[in-house]
Symmetry: none
Subunit: 132 residues, 4 copies
DNA sequence: GTGGTCTAGACCACG
DNA sequence: GTGGTCTAGACCACA
């Protein structure tokens, strides 16, 4: 259930952040729960053809946030829930703020904005939830 | 009406890109139209306490995109409209796509997402439409 | 017979040089000969919608080269011929050198290059000899 | 095979454009192919005694054109071929157009022009194909 | 007045 | 190691 991750090397978002964000969302949505083991650094790196250091950096980031827990000699696991990491809306809020700011600068009405979002929501392939 | 720009030096987005994005939105929303002169490099630099070269980089970027037009010895102007640059929705679409993807990963329903966006839209200070 | 000049404000070549080059070619090809009067600065500026200072700069350039002659209170005239200005091939040589260098860097054969030039020569509208 | 570049600081063409043009020609002529790594910014800067930012500007230009590909933390590479960038004749066409226009203004015959070009082609030092 | 180029040097993010 | 960004300041070309 570690699933497959998707990376876009061309995106402005660095790969290690893309990975961290995807793991955060897996947890926030309950697809990974407290105590679940994460794939090893090497496994992810090999599977996706990225640098192990990049994976390691993502894990370190999440450990620092208290989202993951390091276990000596064993796989990392999902840490006990805290309020922040367990609230899906908190994870998506920065993107919403950004969107609303841009919409205001573009003088879009609320209706125009919601219509556009709704339309993309429908079109989005519900197959797998392609990560960023 | 040279407008005031807002920069967030902490943001991952470099200043020159923040500026370029804001100018793009001014044009897309009709606040700047074809032929309008842009403030001089030095004026923007002085007003916002940034280096002229940083401003110049933003202008160069927009000129390469065909959004602005260079006029030797005179101020840069808004270039004749092209299809993409004149469509506000095209400018905001990438952000919408990103938002919808994240929402799907978080297993949010359409209603949850639209509610959240709508609420932020209301809260957003309608004072000035402060740029990013 | 001052003809019409053509300017491309977007070209890397500054306007005053475009003008000077066109006048030089008119002389080298015998379309303007010794003693002929040139249009006034104002006339050219008004006709082509460019800054009088730009025209003036072109005239000054050609006067410094000895190609034109300034006559107090009267129109500028074509100066008596010198060997340099009267040799058409000398005027076009820099462009040829540039072309040959690029062709070598592109590993083009002589035949490929001559074919390409010949083809463009044919296609070029012989209507008016559009200046640069 | 990082190649040697040649710059003419006196030329009206800025150094970063001279560099970009030379790289474009290396690619168009197959001396650099898709996926090849380019020399590092610092390497070129040190070798030729120019500022790293100047080199960086050339790379940025080519990346914007889609000729080069940025790889975070690693060397830039030649991007997958597009139609324009892979056609040598397309790169040299603007110079040919310019040459033919000047030749027409000078009332040169096709024979005169081709002879002149051919003669320069022969004279050009075949030593190394020295770049602009 | 306008924008463009280049330098020298510092600092950062990424892998 | 890689490229990116920004600064401060100088100098130039064009109109």
């Amino acid at each position: 259930m570690p699933g497959r991750f998707h990376f876009n090397p061309q995106a402005p978002e660095p790969i290690y952040r893309q990975l961290a964000a995807q793991i955060r969302r897996l947890i926030a949505s309950g697809q990974l729960i407290e105590g679940n083991e994460l794939p090893s650094v090497r496994a992810i790196a090999a599977t996706h053809g990225i640098n192990p250091m990049t994976v390691s950096k993502a894990y370190a980031l999440l450990e620092a946030e208290g989202v993951l827990q390091r276990n000596r000699g064993a796989a990392m696991t999902v840490a006990p829930a805290t309020q922040k990491s367990s609230e899906p809306l908190a994870l998506i809020e920065p993107t919403i703020v950004q969107l609303v700011e841009q919409a205001h600068q573009l003088r879009l009405s609320r209706e125009q904005l919601l219509d556009a979002v709704s339309q993309h929501f429908t079109n989005h392939s519900p197959s797998e939830g392609k990560p960023q």
